[in-house]
Amino acid sequence: MKQNKMIKIFIMGKAYQVPAGLTIMDAMEYAGYRFIRGAGCRSGFCGACATIYRKAGEYRFEFALACQEMVEEGIHLAQLPFTPAPRAGYILDDLDASENVLLQYYPEIACCVSCNTCTKACPQDIEVMDYIQAALRGDIKQVTELSFDCIQCGLCSMRCPADIKHYHVAQLARRLYAKSASPTPQHLKDRIKEIEAGKFSDELEELTTMNLDELKERYAARQIEPTT
C-alpha cells in the first residue's frame, strides 16, 4: 500500500508531521493525543468532538466535528472537550406550548442581536440564528423544523456574544412540539406495548443480576455495527 505523503500540522501551537488524509481526530491521535472526553461515536452523529481550527493563512476560525473534517497542510488544531452550558430545569408534563414558554426558561434569547455568529459556527449547517429568532416570537414549530439536525455539540453557545444556549432552547422547543403538536408515531406506541407486555424483561433481568466480570466480557464482545 502506498504511504500517504506527510503534512505539517499544528496542535495547540506545536508542529507535527502526520499523514495526509486523516481526520482532525485521527491526526491528533496519530500525534500521540488520547481522547478521554470530547470523542464519541466517531461517525459524525453524537456531537461530542466539536472542535475549532484555523487554516493556514486565514484569520477566521472554522468549526467542525473532529471526526469528520480532514486535516490539511499548515492547519492549526485544538481540542474542546465539553461545553459547560447550563440547561434549564423543567417538568415537560407541566409545560404548555405557549408563545412565551421558551422566553420564560431562556430569557437570554431576547438579547439576540442577529449577528449570526452561531450559524457560522454550526458544523451541521443549521440556520441557528433563524431558529433563535423563531423562538423569540414563540414559533415552536419553526424552531423544531430548523433545529432538527442539531447534535448538541455546543459550538453555537461557545461563540454567542449574548451567551445564548441555543441547543438547549431548541431541545425544549422540539420536546414541546413533540408533546403538543406532532402525533405519537405508531412504532413508538407498538414498542411501548411490547415493553409493557414484558418483551425485554427477561434480558434486562439477566443483565441486572450478572456479576461485573461477566458483564465486562459481554460488553467487550458486543456487536457495535452490523458487519457486512
Binding site: V113, S114, N116, R137
Partner: protein
C-alpha cells in the same frame, strides 16, 4: 412581483395577530397583497442612539438584505416601532458609508447591503399609492356615526426624518377614518407616549399615561381608539383592565389596530373585534368574524 414586500416583526406573530390578519385582508381587497419576507429576524426593537454602536443595527440591516434578495426596492412595515427602527437604521447606514462597510464586512457569508431598500409604513402606501378616495370606493359597511380617535403615539411620527406625517399635528389617521365614513376625533394627547417599555417595571407610570390618553380621547367624543403600534395597543388595553377595577366610573373603549377599522368597513377579515365595538355600532351590519387563533 405583484404586491409589496412585507416585514411583519415579532409582535404581529404573537400578541398582535389581529393587526396582521386584518392588514393582509385589507391589502388583498385593495389589490396590493403583502408578500412576507421569506426570512426575517427581529428588527432590533429600538434604534440605538450610541454613535459607534453598530452591533445593534445589524438586525435591521439583515432584514433590509432580505428585501434586497427579493429584488424589492422597498419593504412595508405595519408595527410602528419596527418601522421606526428599520427606517432609522436604513437612513443611518445610507449616509455613513464607513459604518455600512463595517457592517457588511462583519456579516460575511451574506450579500452586501447596497443601501437601496426604502422602508415604508403601510399608512404611506394607503395614502400615497392607493389614496383615500379609492379606499372609500371599496367601503361596503360605512362606519357612519362612529367616532374614532386617531392615536399616533411616538414612533410613527417621530423623529421628523422618519415620521410619516407632521410631528405635532399629524392628520393621516384622521383622513383614513373619514374615508371609512366614520367621524375622526382629534384630541390633545394623540401624539403623547403611552409609556412604552416602562410597562415592564414601572407599571403605574404606564397606567397613568394611558389614562390621560384614553380619558382625553373619550372626552373628545371617541367611541373607539385606533393605533398602529402593538405596544401602545397592549399598554392601553392593559391599563383599561386595571382602570375598570380602580375607577368605578371608568368606561372602557375598544382599542383597535387601524387596519381592523378598515377591514370592518371593507367587509373583510378583521380579526377579533371586541363586543364593546359591536355595541357601539348598533344598527350597523357588522360582518361576524370567525374566532382567530389568538
Amino acid at each position: 412581483m405583484k404586491g409589496i414586500a412585507y416585514f411583519p416583526g415579532c409582535s404581529l406573530k404573537e400578541t398582535a395577530k389581529d393587526f396582521e390578519i386584518s392588514a393582509i385582508a385589507v391589502m388583498d381587497a385593495l389589490g396590493i397583497p403583502l408578500i412576507e419576507l421569506k426570512r426575517w429576524n427581529c428588527c432590533g426593537t429600538v434604534f440605538s442612539l450610541t454613535s459607534d454602536d453598530l452591533m445593534h443595527h445589524i438586525a435591521s440591516v439583515r432584514n433590509l438584505i432580505r428585501a434586497q434578495e427579493m429584488e424589492s426596492p422597498e419593504v412595508v412595515v405595519l408595527c410602528s416601532m419596527c418601522f421606526n427602527t428599520l427606517k432609522r437604521v436604513s437612513l443611518r447606514v445610507n449616509r455613513d458609508e464607513e459604518s455600512l462597510t463595517k457592517i457588511n464586512a462583519f456579516m460575511n457569508k451574506e450579500l452586501d447591503y447596497a443601501g437601496e431598500v426604502e422602508v415604508k409604513h403601510l399608512l404611506e402606501i394607503l395614502r400615497d399609492r392607493i389614496g383615500w378616495e379609492q379606499v372609500s370606493e371599496k367601503v361596503i359597511h360605512p362606519l357612519d356615526g362612529v367616532s374614532i380617535a386617531a392615536y399616533y403615539g411616538c414612533t410613527l411620527v417621530r423623529p421628523h426624518e422618519v415620521g410619516i406625517d407632521d410631528t405635532e399635528t399629524p392628520t393621516v389617521l384622521q383622513e383614513m377614518i373619514e374615508s371609512l365614513g366614520a367621524t375622526a376625533v382629534s384630541f390633545p394627547f394623540q401624539t403623547e407616549c403611552c409609556g412604552s417599555y416602562q410597562i415592564v417595571d414601572r407599571r403605574d407610570l404606564v397606567i397613568n399615561r394611558s389614562y390621560r390618553i384614553l380619558s382625553s380621547a373619550q372626552r373628545a367624543g371617541a367611541q373607539v381608539l385606533i393605533t398602529a403600534c402593538p405596544l401602545c395597543q397592549y399598554n392601553l388595553d392593559e391599563a383599561q383592565t386595571e382602570l375598570a377595577e380602580r375607577l368605578p366610573d371608568y368606561t372602557s373603549i375598544p382599542v383597535l389596530y387601524f387596519t381592523q377599522a378598515i377591514a370592518l368597513a371593507l367587509g373583510v377579515e378583521a380579526g377579533t373585534i371586541p363586543d364593546l365595538l359591536a355595541e357601539s355600532l348598533v344598527g350597523q351590519e357588522i360582518p361576524k368574524k370567525e374566532e382567530t387563533t389568538r
